[in-house]
Point group: C2
Amino acid sequence: MNEFELIERIFRTLQAESPSAGIEKAIGDDAAVMSLPAGARLVSCIDTLVQGRHFGADWSQVKELAFQIGYKAVAVNVSDIAAMGATPHSILLALALPERLANEPWLSDFAKGLFHACQQFGVTLIGGDTTRSDTLVLSVSAQGLLAADTKAIYRSGAQVGDKVYVSGTLGDAAYALKHTNNETGQQLAHRLHMPTPRIQLGAALTKTGANSMIDISDGLYQDLAHICQQSGVTMRIDIEKLPTSEPLLQADEAERLLCQLAGGDDYELAFTMPADIAPPFEHTTNTPVTCIGEVAATDSARPQPQLFYNGLAVTAAHPAPFSSLPSFTGYQHFIG
Amino acid sequence: MNEFELIERIFRTLQAESPSAGIEKAIGDDAAVMSLPAGARLVSCIDTLVQGRHFGADWSQVKELAFQIGYKAVAVNVSDIAAMGATPHSILLALALPERLANEPWLSDFAKGLFHACQQFGVTLIGGDTTRSDTLVLSVSAQGLLAADTKAIYRSGAQVGDKVYVSGTLGDAAYALKHTNNETGQQLAHRLHMPTPRIQLGAALTKTGANSMIDISDGLYQDLAHICQQSGVTMRIDIEKLPTSEPLLQADEAERLLCQLAGGDDYELAFTMPADIAPPFEHTTNTPVTCIGEVAATDSARPQPQLFYNGLAVTAAHPAPFSSLPSFTGYQHFIG
């Protein structure tokens, strides 16, 4: 059995356990064919994980993390669908596979992680492509649905006076990536390797009147800057309000704040809503939500977040970690 | 300007020239949002090009072929959509980009090739993702549409008595890949680098009653074997009927036949139709079509094509090139 047959066998076996409503043809032909519910609009994205960027280059780590890599490739794409307020529907996988991973144990663990994520998030694997490569590169394309009468939530809708919210806690993944050997890093490793896309919250926000939304994949500061740029506004962000997990409270404060502001891979949702609307309650979406600031003013010349720490504006003259932020250094993609 | 801003600027400029009917949100948010025509079914696929597999590993060649690489990444996916009988609609691009290609000249040429293909094939780039990588890896996911009353053409529908057809000519791309320095290879280079997906033919075949179809990306023999396996049939293929381009007639016959039977990257369509139905005329689809054999028998134990040369069955005992075929050697992915 060659590797292509091996992959086909592993995926077919796991596929049989997955649901597939409305899907006329999934894996095994030139393309997948599916019927969508009447009036549904299609939401599509693509996202890539590269060895040495989104997980270590080290082969022993790549082998150990097969399940998590499969899971995460799905989760990061589902997070993009959730950030539009849409319901995830299906995914396609492009697997550029190094020879040393083309074996039954690795592929089987990888596929188990991928299908575990599919089941968790209600998506069906409908197609894929395998090629040989020197490094592991995984691209997943995800498809979601929006009902005809549901407004998608874009980055461009933030309004002056909106409150700015984030889901969950921030900085966990970035800290875990840097500290694989200390206890706090190990406690947070699941946040790096198995992030939770906020599907229910994203969908609930289409009904409660959120004006803008993004998922935090490149770091809070940079992702809020995308909302500011596309909405032509500034934000006031109160750093002391950033939600912090119990383990991360043990970390050095300067490092913690840098992880929270500029670290990537959180896959939490950042969104803005009119001040007179309450965000969805935690018990309806199973997701904690924290207000961290507000949309301050219309500004097309310098549309970016402005950071405040205990009431004082943070500037480039401030010491680290603030002086290390992308707004002051121009350094993007701090991590990942 | 960093590379992410550079990519955004280049793509935005070219994007503005593209059509985008029904697309509510394309590039620039977490995902794209689009309305589909009432009743349309969605057809989706993903396909990857890897440096050193689908084009040379050599950096000078990768730099020279920027336009063609952009074009081909779109064309190979559009070909998969065409092979279902569907109409291409939109694409997403995942670009894993080496640092040495993250410059304006390369990205600009690449984007021009990509948008040229988009215009040729009537698709809109609706989203993408850029990551850093050591080798160039391009994944494109394509979406197509099928009207509610149009039957998709699968690999699994071949019926005993069907004639077997292929479009265009075979073997040109594989020959060009191996012979970059001889005249014939150079005459055929455009077939390797800028393949023509057979969109009109694919769509016409949904109306004329084709029973099965596949696009030839891995080589005629292997791709016909996919139809045989999924349909549970055998085929008789008459090798002397394989359509051959004028330049390829100049090549050594044994090598030519191997390119035609086992070479990849043709992106022609292979399909089967009842013997009493005439294939679409060339002047309606702008695509020549050649009958190369027939579906011979139902056979679930050994469902594969059987080759005949001037009326005699080809077996493993035959000399090269036939003894080199995947059916006899088990060697898949001869090229690419």
